[in-house]
Symmetry: C2
Subunit: 398 residues, 2 copies
């Protein structure tokens, strides 16, 4: 018998706690594992032995955890180097922790990978498993990532409401959505479209260069045709030279330890784009919202598909760790539409660590300002049930 | 037999369509009314006779309308003067419209009032009824306004998630919430608090002067105590001289026909407050979100109490119009907590028109930076069922 630890790293999501509960409930079934530590605030807490005893949590508490957004063990943006990882390994040895479950994105897979390699070199038997999560949906190998579906549901519902709002009081509306390098979440803005003229009418993602000339021409075209225009823009859109507009705008660009410029938690990009439309196109009513943290941590809104898969991924990491030394849990899609189903498989940590996936070409329209039917087929099952809306303002006149 | 018209005016809400459906379903029961016109885009469409025939809508369409956010007949920000109202009256006469139902805020009650007086002077028999709606909850006479509960539910759920997010990655988080003159909606940010240290820890509403010195001292105090701070700020907070911060910041302040400065649809206030905290308090992680239009038009999120009452208000306006000449529908609260119940009553248009209600003193704490238990008792039944969340990061250490 040995002990285990589970932690959550990086940006919170709406279902990362479902993965946590999946790990806990599966660990409780295996006699090989004695104590299950919850490592608070990821690597930052592990080096300080900031642990709680997860086997002591009652089942009703666990179910509330699984239904709660954000990371219930806390998180961290620390990106551990070798010295940092050596301190982590020292704690694992001291506490006889032989099972290491780490829920996070590609940086977390990399942390898992480094610690696992270090343990191997030092002859310390460790089972290190990565459980995927990210609202950005940008991990390699896996078909999609737990966390994306729930954030995508928020974005889809937001755009459904916002498009109806824009019908009621016409104008140009810009919504800036999370996604530093990958446009999947911004793409999810189209998933609630029901009518031919439903917005968003234009979608801009980081996978395509964003020029102000093209943007203004696109908006002008839609506005002249419909008398209104709803636009979804990724926070990570970039000039053709690769520099993001957020970088251009952020005079006091704040960088985290990963070298990432802060893109969320500021309305600068949205306000800048609104100003460009006002001054260049002469549209009087231009509004811009930045969805910010609401889209990753909103209480009471989960995709049923997403929460189920996130929990399964947590359980599966424990199952793999009974037989294998290390790995990352990945999702394989078995069918689409009404036949949507998945199975889980193990992939190597090195396949996931530090890499990122972009939105593939077949998901982006030829003009680079919208999503294709192939994207909708891919993303629709992940967001779960969406509400149906009605707008009667365009019914035949009496 | 004569004809009737119903329109929706002002900012959309999550349940203004429930009121619309209430009007439609009740009108269908009364033989006194022949055709029921839906006047598109409020007064702007009425003068152009932009009408649809609402009796032709099938029941399943109506139910989808009732569940959809935003104004399904479109809206307008036009504030009609006497000449404008004369044009409206001419259309009513031409179409033999003797029943006028207008769903909106205090400006809409005023429009109703002017048209009704004008009709009386000209000897044209008209029944003019106002159906209340506003996310701001700022109408006089009525205990509360349809639209507030659903927007309040969005705000409460957003803060519940955001507070958990702030626990996971600590720092200062500012959320800017709608409410030009009244702080009810910003106050609703506290309704999801479950634990003693849950955020929002500070709440600023327009009913109390906002000084930067006090704000920074408040934030510093919470941050030093908890190591984090979640703040809810109304978009309408003002300096002691009465000037809103939004006005101070908006160089190109855009004014609508009501003389209101545009406060929503820009992240300027949030970013400004975040900058002040960064530079004056030396907190490194400061984030700010502006909820914008999401809080009034989000698909799939309604307060069950709110949608029920909004529909009843629509039906009741029609019932009153069978016996009375004019009026506004108001809500009286009969009990609180588990005994929450309401009854509707008729009030004079002049009591509601153009006036606004502020958050009463007993709902605001002594420091002017939070809400009291009396406010929670008042607002809690209106937002309906809120999710329960769990955070285990502060459980006893292992």
């Amino acid at each position: 018998m040995a002990n285990a630890i589970v932690s959550q790293s990086g940006g919170p999501t709406g279902v990362i706690n479902a993965s946590l509960v999946g790990v806990i409930e599966e660990v409780c079934k295996h006699k090989e594992i004695d104590r299950l530590y919850g490592g608070l605030h990821a690597v930052a807490g592990i080096v300080k032995e900031d642990f709680i005893d997860l086997k002591k949590l009652p089942i009703d508490t666990l179910e509330r955890v699984a239904g709660s957004p954000s990371s219930s063990l806390g998180s961290s943006r620390d990106k551990p180097d070798d010295e940092y990882c050596a301190r982590i390994l020292a704690v694992l040895k001291k506490r006889d922790i032989r099972y290491f479950y780490y829920i996070g994105g590609n940086d977390s897979a990399n942390t898992c990978y480094i610690i696992n390699n270090m343990a191997e070199r030092e002859g310390f038997q460790l089972r290190a498993f990565h459980v995927p999560k990210t609202v950005d949906n940008d991990l390699l190998v896996t078909d999609h990532c737990p966390g994306f579906g729930t954030a995508g549901k928020f974005v889809a519902c937001a755009l459904m409401g916002d498009d109806l709002d824009n019908r009621a009081l016409a104008g140009v509306k810009i919504d800036v959505i999370m996604g530093r390098h990958a446009g999947f979440l911004t793409g999810a803005s189209v998933l609630g479209k029901q009518r031919d003229d439903d917005g968003p009418h234009l979608v801009y993602i980081p996978e395509r260069p964003f020029t102000m000339e093209k943007f203004l021409a696109d908006v002008d075209g839609v506005f002249k045709k419909l008398g209104r225009c709803v636009i979804a823009v990724s926070e990570g859109v970039s000039q053709p030279d690769g520099k993001t507009y957020a970088e251009v705008l952020a005079e006091d660009a704040e960088r985290d330890a990963h070298g990432n410029v802060q893109l969320s938690g500021t309305g600068a990009l949205a306000d800048y784009l609104a100003g460009q439309i006002k001054s260049n196109l002469g549209v009087s009513r231009v509004r811009a919202d930045t969805f910010g943290y609401l889209q990753r941590s909103f209480a009471g809104l989960q995709s049923e598909t997403d929460v189920d898969e996130a929990r399964r991924c947590g359980r599966q990491a424990v199952l793999y760790s009974m037989k294998e030394d290390n790995g990352s849990v990945a999702i394989k899609r078995l069918g689409n539409g009404a036949d949507y189903a998945v199975e889980l498989f193990r992939t190597n940590l090195s396949e996931v660590a530090e890499h990122t996936k972009s939105v593939p070409d077949e998901f982006i329209n030829a003009d680079g300002n919208g999503m294709t039917d192939a994207f909708i087929e891919y993303a629709m099952p992940l967001v779960g049930q969406l509400p149906k809306t009605e707008y009667i303002g365009n019914y035949p006149k009496a």
